[in-house]
Symmetry: C2
Protein backbone atom coordinates (compact mmCIF):
# COMPACT_ATOMS: atom_id res chain seq x y z
CA UNK A 1 0.00 0.00 0.00
CA UNK A 2 0.93 3.70 -0.01
CA UNK A 3 2.85 3.58 3.27
CA UNK A 4 5.00 0.74 1.96
CA UNK A 5 5.69 2.53 -1.27
CA UNK A 6 6.77 5.72 0.51
CA UNK A 7 8.87 3.73 2.97
CA UNK A 8 10.67 2.01 0.12
CA UNK A 9 11.25 5.33 -1.60
CA UNK A 10 12.67 6.77 1.62
CA UNK A 11 14.97 3.77 1.95
CA UNK A 12 16.33 4.39 -1.56
CA UNK A 13 16.79 8.10 -0.82
CA UNK A 14 18.67 7.36 2.38
CA UNK A 15 20.98 4.99 0.57
CA UNK A 16 21.57 7.68 -2.03
CA UNK A 17 22.47 10.00 0.83
CA UNK A 18 25.09 7.54 2.09
CA UNK A 19 26.67 7.34 -1.36
CA UNK A 20 26.54 11.11 -1.68
CA UNK A 21 28.30 11.59 1.66
CA UNK A 22 31.08 9.27 0.43
CA UNK A 23 31.36 11.33 -2.76
CA UNK A 24 31.59 14.51 -0.69
CA UNK A 25 34.31 13.00 1.46
CA UNK A 26 36.26 11.85 -1.60
CA UNK A 27 35.98 15.33 -3.12
CA UNK A 28 37.15 16.94 0.13
CA UNK A 29 40.24 14.70 0.10
CA UNK A 30 40.92 15.75 -3.50
CA UNK A 31 40.53 19.37 -2.35
CA UNK A 32 43.08 18.89 0.42
CA UNK A 33 45.56 17.40 -2.04
CA UNK A 34 45.09 20.32 -4.43
CA UNK A 35 45.46 22.76 -1.53
CA UNK A 36 48.72 21.16 -0.38
CA UNK A 37 50.18 21.51 -3.88
CA UNK A 38 48.96 25.09 -4.28
CA UNK A 39 50.47 26.02 -0.91
CA UNK A 40 53.80 24.56 -1.99
CA UNK A 41 54.12 26.16 -5.41
CA UNK A 42 52.25 29.49 -5.24
CA UNK A 43 53.14 32.76 -3.52
CA UNK A 44 51.49 33.28 -0.10
CA UNK A 45 49.13 35.98 -1.42
CA UNK A 46 48.11 33.70 -4.28
CA UNK A 47 47.49 30.81 -1.91
CA UNK A 48 45.41 33.23 0.16
CA UNK A 49 43.24 34.03 -2.85
CA UNK A 50 42.75 30.32 -3.51
CA UNK A 51 41.75 29.67 0.11
CA UNK A 52 39.34 32.61 0.23
CA UNK A 53 37.66 31.57 -2.99
CA UNK A 54 37.22 27.96 -1.83
CA UNK A 55 35.96 29.14 1.57
CA UNK A 56 33.40 31.49 0.03
CA UNK A 57 32.23 28.93 -2.52
CA UNK A 58 30.07 26.67 -0.37
CA UNK A 59 28.77 29.60 1.67
CA UNK A 60 27.50 31.47 -1.36
CA UNK A 61 26.08 28.33 -2.99
CA UNK A 62 24.31 27.38 0.26
CA UNK A 63 22.99 30.89 0.63
CA UNK A 64 21.69 30.94 -2.92
CA UNK A 65 19.94 27.58 -2.46
CA UNK A 66 18.40 28.59 0.84
CA UNK A 67 17.07 31.85 -0.61
CA UNK A 68 15.69 30.11 -3.72
CA UNK A 69 13.92 27.62 -1.46
CA UNK A 70 12.39 30.28 0.77
CA UNK A 71 11.34 32.39 -2.22
CA UNK A 72 9.69 29.37 -3.86
CA UNK A 73 7.79 28.58 -0.66
CA UNK A 74 6.52 32.15 -0.28
CA UNK A 75 5.48 32.30 -3.95
CA UNK A 76 3.78 28.96 -3.59
CA UNK A 77 1.89 30.26 -0.56
CA UNK A 78 0.89 33.38 -2.50
CA UNK A 79 -0.42 31.28 -5.40
CA UNK A 80 -2.50 29.18 -3.03
CA UNK A 81 -4.26 32.07 -1.30
CA UNK A 82 -8.05 31.99 -1.35
CA UNK A 83 -10.84 34.34 -0.26
CA UNK A 84 -10.49 33.29 3.37
CA UNK A 85 -7.04 34.91 3.52
CA UNK A 86 -6.98 38.18 5.41
CA UNK A 87 -5.55 41.24 3.59
CA UNK A 88 -3.05 41.48 6.45
CA UNK A 89 -1.75 37.98 5.75
CA UNK A 90 -1.55 38.65 2.02
CA UNK A 91 0.36 41.87 2.64
CA UNK A 92 2.87 40.10 4.90
CA UNK A 93 3.48 37.48 2.22
CA UNK A 94 3.90 40.06 -0.55
CA UNK A 95 6.37 41.99 1.61
CA UNK A 96 8.32 38.81 2.31
CA UNK A 97 8.37 38.01 -1.39
CA UNK A 98 9.74 41.47 -2.17
CA UNK A 99 12.48 41.16 0.44
CA UNK A 100 13.45 37.64 -0.59
CA UNK A 101 13.50 38.57 -4.29
CA UNK A 102 15.96 41.37 -3.50
CA UNK A 103 18.15 39.10 -1.37
CA UNK A 104 18.03 36.43 -4.05
CA UNK A 105 19.21 38.96 -6.64
CA UNK A 106 22.05 39.97 -4.32
CA UNK A 107 23.05 36.35 -3.79
CA UNK A 108 23.04 35.75 -7.55
CA UNK A 109 25.38 38.70 -8.01
CA UNK A 110 27.66 37.38 -5.25
CA UNK A 111 27.71 34.07 -7.14
CA UNK A 112 28.55 35.82 -10.43
CA UNK A 113 31.47 37.61 -8.82
CA UNK A 114 32.54 34.31 -7.30
CA UNK A 115 32.57 32.74 -10.77
CA UNK A 116 34.85 35.54 -11.93
CA UNK A 117 37.09 34.92 -8.93
CA UNK A 118 37.18 31.24 -9.89
CA UNK A 119 38.60 32.20 -13.28
CA UNK A 120 41.13 34.55 -11.66
CA UNK A 121 42.31 31.76 -9.37
CA UNK A 122 42.42 29.40 -12.35
CA UNK A 123 44.65 31.82 -14.26
CA UNK A 124 47.00 32.03 -11.28
CA UNK A 125 47.18 28.27 -10.82
CA UNK A 126 47.71 27.77 -14.58
CA UNK A 127 51.13 29.45 -14.11
CA UNK A 128 52.26 26.81 -11.64
CA UNK A 129 50.34 23.54 -11.83
CA UNK A 130 50.78 20.61 -14.19
CA UNK A 131 47.92 19.93 -16.57
CA UNK A 132 46.80 17.03 -14.38
CA UNK A 133 46.80 19.05 -11.16
CA UNK A 134 44.97 21.88 -12.87
CA UNK A 135 42.31 19.42 -14.03
CA UNK A 136 42.04 18.17 -10.43
CA UNK A 137 41.43 21.73 -9.25
CA UNK A 138 38.71 22.28 -11.84
CA UNK A 139 37.07 18.97 -11.04
CA UNK A 140 37.16 19.68 -7.30
CA UNK A 141 35.56 23.11 -7.69
CA UNK A 142 32.84 21.92 -10.07
CA UNK A 143 32.01 18.92 -7.89
CA UNK A 144 31.96 21.04 -4.74
CA UNK A 145 28.97 23.11 -5.88
CA UNK A 146 27.31 20.19 -7.65
CA UNK A 147 27.49 18.04 -4.52
CA UNK A 148 26.07 20.78 -2.32
CA UNK A 149 23.12 21.19 -4.71
CA UNK A 150 22.56 17.44 -4.89
CA UNK A 151 22.74 17.13 -1.11
CA UNK A 152 20.21 19.90 -0.63
CA UNK A 153 17.77 18.33 -3.11
CA UNK A 154 18.15 14.93 -1.48
CA UNK A 155 17.59 16.30 2.03
CA UNK A 156 14.45 18.09 0.81
CA UNK A 157 13.10 14.90 -0.74
CA UNK A 158 13.83 12.87 2.40
CA UNK A 159 12.13 15.50 4.56
CA UNK A 160 9.10 15.52 2.29
CA UNK A 161 8.86 11.71 2.37
CA UNK A 162 9.15 11.65 6.16
CA UNK A 163 6.37 14.23 6.45
CA UNK A 164 4.12 12.28 4.07
CA UNK A 165 4.78 9.10 6.04
CA UNK A 166 4.02 10.83 9.35
CA UNK A 167 0.79 12.28 7.91
CA UNK A 168 -0.33 8.87 6.68
CA UNK A 169 0.43 6.95 9.87
CA UNK A 170 -1.18 9.73 11.95
CA UNK A 171 -4.34 9.59 9.84
CA UNK A 172 -4.56 5.81 10.25
CA UNK A 173 -4.47 5.91 14.03
CA UNK B 1 -0.76 62.03 24.94
CA UNK B 2 0.97 58.81 23.81
CA UNK B 3 -0.17 59.07 20.18
CA UNK B 4 1.25 62.59 19.93
CA UNK B 5 4.53 61.53 21.45
CA UNK B 6 4.94 58.59 19.04
CA UNK B 7 3.93 60.77 16.09
CA UNK B 8 6.56 63.34 17.02
CA UNK B 9 9.18 60.60 17.38
CA UNK B 10 8.23 59.24 13.96
CA UNK B 11 8.55 62.72 12.49
CA UNK B 12 12.10 63.01 13.88
CA UNK B 13 12.99 59.55 12.56
CA UNK B 14 11.69 60.39 9.10
CA UNK B 15 13.72 63.59 9.01
CA UNK B 16 16.76 61.57 10.07
CA UNK B 17 16.02 59.26 7.15
CA UNK B 18 16.03 62.20 4.74
CA UNK B 19 19.43 63.31 6.02
CA UNK B 20 20.73 59.77 5.86
CA UNK B 21 19.63 59.41 2.22
CA UNK B 22 21.55 62.59 1.42
CA UNK B 23 24.62 61.16 3.16
CA UNK B 24 24.27 57.95 1.16
CA UNK B 25 24.02 59.93 -2.08
CA UNK B 26 27.08 62.00 -1.18
CA UNK B 27 29.03 58.85 -0.38
CA UNK B 28 27.97 57.25 -3.67
CA UNK B 29 29.29 60.29 -5.53
CA UNK B 30 32.58 60.00 -3.66
CA UNK B 31 32.63 56.31 -4.64
CA UNK B 32 32.14 57.15 -8.32
CA UNK B 33 35.00 59.65 -8.18
CA UNK B 34 37.28 57.08 -6.56
CA UNK B 35 36.22 54.49 -9.14
CA UNK B 36 37.00 56.83 -12.04
CA UNK B 37 40.51 57.42 -10.70
CA UNK B 38 41.11 53.73 -10.03
CA UNK B 39 39.99 52.86 -13.55
CA UNK B 40 42.42 55.40 -14.98
CA UNK B 41 45.54 54.45 -13.04
CA UNK B 42 45.24 50.72 -12.28
CA UNK B 43 45.57 47.66 -14.51
CA UNK B 44 42.28 46.21 -15.78
CA UNK B 45 42.54 43.13 -13.53
CA UNK B 46 43.21 45.36 -10.53
CA UNK B 47 40.25 47.57 -11.37
CA UNK B 48 38.21 44.37 -11.63
CA UNK B 49 39.20 43.37 -8.10
CA UNK B 50 38.23 46.81 -6.83
CA UNK B 51 34.81 46.64 -8.55
CA UNK B 52 34.09 43.12 -7.31
CA UNK B 53 35.01 44.02 -3.76
CA UNK B 54 32.80 47.13 -3.78
CA UNK B 55 29.94 45.19 -5.38
CA UNK B 56 30.12 42.41 -2.82
CA UNK B 57 30.41 44.81 0.12
CA UNK B 58 26.82 45.98 0.45
CA UNK B 59 25.45 42.57 -0.43
CA UNK B 60 27.35 40.82 2.33
CA UNK B 61 26.63 43.56 4.87
CA UNK B 62 22.92 43.48 3.99
CA UNK B 63 22.88 39.73 4.21
CA UNK B 64 24.59 39.75 7.59
CA UNK B 65 22.14 42.33 8.95
CA UNK B 66 19.12 40.48 7.63
CA UNK B 67 20.29 37.19 9.16
CA UNK B 68 21.09 38.83 12.52
CA UNK B 69 17.62 40.34 12.53
CA UNK B 70 15.86 37.09 11.72
CA UNK B 71 17.95 35.17 14.25
CA UNK B 72 17.15 37.73 16.95
CA UNK B 73 13.42 37.48 16.19
CA UNK B 74 13.43 33.68 16.35
CA UNK B 75 15.41 33.70 19.60
CA UNK B 76 13.07 36.29 21.01
CA UNK B 77 10.10 34.10 20.09
CA UNK B 78 11.80 31.10 21.72
CA UNK B 79 12.38 33.06 24.94
CA UNK B 80 8.75 34.11 25.04
CA UNK B 81 7.26 30.63 24.72
CA UNK B 82 4.87 29.58 27.46
CA UNK B 83 3.04 26.38 28.39
CA UNK B 84 0.36 26.99 25.77
CA UNK B 85 2.93 26.48 22.99
CA UNK B 86 2.63 23.15 21.20
CA UNK B 87 5.77 20.93 21.04
CA UNK B 88 5.39 21.10 17.25
CA UNK B 89 5.65 24.89 17.29
CA UNK B 90 8.63 24.81 19.63
CA UNK B 91 10.39 22.25 17.43
CA UNK B 92 9.83 24.38 14.32
CA UNK B 93 11.35 27.40 16.08
CA UNK B 94 14.35 25.44 17.36
CA UNK B 95 14.98 24.09 13.86
CA UNK B 96 14.74 27.60 12.40
CA UNK B 97 17.17 28.85 15.04
CA UNK B 98 19.67 26.10 14.17
CA UNK B 99 19.45 26.87 10.46
CA UNK B 100 19.74 30.63 10.94
CA UNK B 101 22.68 30.25 13.34
CA UNK B 102 24.54 28.25 10.68
CA UNK B 103 23.72 30.77 7.96
CA UNK B 104 24.74 33.62 10.25
CA UNK B 105 28.10 31.92 10.89
CA UNK B 106 28.57 31.53 7.12
CA UNK B 107 27.72 35.18 6.52
CA UNK B 108 30.20 36.24 9.21
CA UNK B 109 32.92 34.23 7.48
CA UNK B 110 32.02 35.80 4.14
CA UNK B 111 32.37 39.18 5.84
CA UNK B 112 35.77 38.23 7.31
CA UNK B 113 37.03 37.21 3.88
CA UNK B 114 35.63 40.45 2.51
CA UNK B 115 37.62 42.41 5.11
CA UNK B 116 40.75 40.62 3.92
CA UNK B 117 39.86 41.48 0.33
CA UNK B 118 39.47 45.11 1.42
CA UNK B 119 43.09 45.08 2.64
CA UNK B 120 44.26 43.42 -0.58
CA UNK B 121 42.53 46.11 -2.65
CA UNK B 122 43.98 48.78 -0.35
CA UNK B 123 47.51 47.43 -0.92
CA UNK B 124 46.95 47.53 -4.68
CA UNK B 125 45.59 51.08 -4.63
CA UNK B 126 48.42 52.22 -2.35
CA UNK B 127 50.78 51.61 -5.29
CA UNK B 128 48.95 54.11 -7.47
CA UNK B 129 46.86 56.64 -5.55
CA UNK B 130 47.91 59.86 -3.84
CA UNK B 131 47.55 59.95 -0.07
CA UNK B 132 44.40 62.04 -0.44
CA UNK B 133 42.74 59.70 -2.93
CA UNK B 134 43.66 56.71 -0.81
CA UNK B 135 42.03 58.38 2.18
CA UNK B 136 38.94 58.99 0.05
CA UNK B 137 38.80 55.28 -0.80
CA UNK B 138 39.07 54.28 2.85
CA UNK B 139 36.45 56.80 3.89
CA UNK B 140 34.08 55.67 1.13
CA UNK B 141 34.39 51.99 2.09
CA UNK B 142 33.98 52.61 5.83
CA UNK B 143 30.99 54.88 5.28
CA UNK B 144 29.38 52.46 2.86
CA UNK B 145 28.92 49.75 5.51
CA UNK B 146 28.22 52.24 8.28
CA UNK B 147 25.45 53.91 6.26
CA UNK B 148 23.83 50.58 5.39
CA UNK B 149 23.77 49.63 9.07
CA UNK B 150 22.39 53.02 10.09
CA UNK B 151 19.74 52.86 7.36
CA UNK B 152 18.62 49.41 8.50
CA UNK B 153 18.35 50.51 12.14
CA UNK B 154 16.41 53.60 11.17
CA UNK B 155 13.99 51.67 8.97
CA UNK B 156 13.41 49.20 11.81
CA UNK B 157 12.67 52.02 14.25
CA UNK B 158 10.28 53.71 11.82
CA UNK B 159 8.48 50.44 11.19
CA UNK B 160 8.16 49.81 14.92
CA UNK B 161 6.79 53.33 15.51
CA UNK B 162 4.27 52.96 12.69
CA UNK B 163 3.08 49.64 14.13
CA UNK B 164 2.74 51.14 17.62
CA UNK B 165 0.78 54.05 16.20
CA UNK B 166 -1.51 51.75 14.24
CA UNK B 167 -2.10 49.59 17.35
CA UNK B 168 -2.97 52.65 19.42
CA UNK B 169 -5.35 54.26 16.91
CA UNK B 170 -7.02 50.87 16.26
CA UNK B 171 -7.55 50.34 19.99
CA UNK B 172 -9.14 53.79 20.34
CA UNK B 173 -11.73 53.22 17.64
Amino acid sequence: ELIDSISRKLQVLREARETLLEDIQANNILGEEVEAIVKEVCKPNEFDKFKMFIGDLDKVVNLLLSLSGRLARVENALNNLDESTSPEERRTLVEKQKLLTQQHEDAKELKENLDRRERIVFDILANYLSEENLADYEHFVKMKSALIIEQRELEDKIKLGEEQLKCLTDSLQ
